[in-house]
């Protein structure tokens, strides 16, 4: 699925300060061409700032940013003609209708859209983003979710090579969220999608790669598999019977065990053991086997969600 032929976005050592507030502190990023790339991080992590710098909307304090292999800071309209951008909380001229906004945006992109082609393109996008019947409404009469849909449509109007979407699912209901995911899937054949979001389920469903940022810098970057596989191991053990309290004490006292949690489930007791040293897993199993009063019936590495991995990664930054 991923066509990784050189990066479409490359950011290196990017800093941005607003007075005494440092929004970016040495951000690095590499988005391969042809991927759907999720950009994750808590509020204030520097996601929007990075995207705005790439779009030339703000200037970095220092550092480098490249789009299509060219300096993003001086790329100008030529580079932006290949990009569709959805800002966070998009704002439009409120006295214009949905159709007028899209036609206005469509005329700005190269490709010589004649009036008939532009009209067809606008009609198709209005249908694609679910604004049929609302295309004659003025922007001021649209709900927040409808504005978001309009923003997505205007980002797509130029048939971009690169889509930069700053929280495209924000303000959308579950159906709208699903439609955004479908839409990303629709365009991924021809377009690299770089998007930020807080909805980790969506990221896991649609992304080829992710970057987790926090405190204005990159914390982890790679495929979903890389991100899920990186952190410390958590193991689940199911014990039938009543393990002695001493067993829990003994396991918990091991220097390579970070925590032990137990939950009673009928005749079984579920143990969740988090290791501080992943290589110690082979030492955990013998401790649990052959205990008096209980039998080990199940033992496996816990399935980790992206959310678990994300929280572990950004947790370190919040704890700084």
């Amino acid at each position: 699925m991923a066509k990784t032929v050189g990066p479409i976005i490359e950011v290196s050592g990017l800093y941005k300060s607003y007075g005494k507030v440092e929004a970016l502190r040495g951000m690095d990023l590499l988005v391969p061409r042809g991927t759907v790339f999720g950009f994750l991080g808590p509020n204030g992590a520097g996601k929007s700032t990075t995207m705005k710098i790439l779009m030339g909307l703000i200037r970095p304090t220092r550092g480098e940013a490249f789009l299509f292999g060219r300096d993003a800071l001086h790329a100008g309209p030529a580079a932006r003609s290949r990009i569709g951008y959805l800002p966070q909380d998009p704002e439009f001229h409120t006295d214009r209708t949905v159709r007028e906004i899209l036609k206005f945006a469509g005329r700005l992109y190269p490709g010589g859209m004649n009036p008939l082609t532009l009209r067809r393109r606008v009609d198709a996008l209005i249908e694609q983003v679910g604004l049929v019947g609302k295309d004659r409404r003025r922007v001021r009469a649209l709900s927040g979710g409808e504005r978001q849909r309009l923003g997505i449509a205007q980002a797509l109007i130029g048939k971009p090579d690169l889509l930069i979407l700053d929280e495209p699912s924000a303000g959308l209901d579950p159906r709208g969220r699903r439609e955004v995911i479908d839409l990303i899937n629709d365009v991924r054949q021809h377009t690299t999608v770089f998007y930020s979001t807080h909805i980790l389920d969506d990221v896991q469903r649609v992304s080829d790669a992710v970057a987790v940022v926090g405190g204005g810098r990159m914390l982890a970057q790679g495929s979903i598999g890389d991100i899920l596989g990186t952190p410390i191991g958590t193991y689940t053990a199911m014990l039938r019977g009543k393990p002695a309290a001493a067993l829990r004490k003994r396991v918990g006292a091991e220097p390579w065990v970070a925590s032990v949690e137990t939950v009673r489930r009928g005749e079984l007791e579920e143990w969740t053991v988090r290791l501080s040293d992943d290589s110690a897993a082979d030492r955990l199993l013998p401790l649990l086997v052959g205990q008096r009063g209980c039998d080990l019936v199940e033992f496996h590495l816990s399935d980790r969600s992206l959310e678990d991995a994300y929280l572990e990664i950004v947790g370190g930054v919040h704890g700084e």
Binding site: S12, F66, P77, L108
Partner: protein, 284 residues
Amino acid sequence: MVTEAAPLRPITGSGPWRGLSGLTGAEVRRWLPWRSLVMVAVGVGVLVLFFAIWRLAGADTEANLRLGALMVPFFSLWAIALTLVTATAAQGAVAGEVDEGTAAWLMGMPIGRPAFIVSKVLGAVPGVIAAVFGAGLVAYPVFSYASTIEIKAFATRDIFQVASNPIGSDGFMQLPAASEYLGLLVRMSLFLLVLVALMVLLGAIFRSTGVVLGLGVALAVGLVMVGIVGVAGVVDATPAGLVSGLLDAVQAEPAPLAGPVSVSLSWIVALTGLAVVRFQRRDL
């Protein structure tokens, strides 16, 4: 560091000016028709008010029934009203778009920042001209009619004085010829366009709240200039020449047009150029 540079697809139009026609068209539609109609309505309202006062007061005193007693107050108040309306309308042109986030939306598309700034000034031209000429051309027949009333009222004693002494040493004033009157309207339009360019510059520097502050700074700078080069120097070198010329023209006194027009056009270009330079570095 960068491994591969993808070729940029060719696009039509030069970079900095890309989007100028579309943005200018959008700006024109912001002024026309409603904003200009409001400005015309303000002018006509002032005219109706002063004509009514002129007619009612004229019954009592001779001095009030003279044409100058209608034209001078009308043009004074109309110019002030237009200045306020134009400043209010133009102050959001850049600062408002930055504050509301629409500038970020626009600049996220293939639009040059210089095009955004220049469109704000160019787009105001038709609206300002329509506003000034709309009300001004309504006012001219009224002045013409008022001059016939004046002549009738003073015919027995002063008709020859009106004709021979248009400057108005005793309060008489001649109706300006149509060409002079059009020149007067050109002055007003140009003055308002200088104001638009100034507001665009202030918007490129400050946020919305800073525009009022910026106007204060501009006034302070003007006063300092008066102190340094004197009133005459400022009048010659700035669009203030339009204002003094406007007052002369209303009173049918000689008021050269070419000098103030060229000075004012230079100021519009300079203010817009400064706004372009400043806006290039503005975070959106």
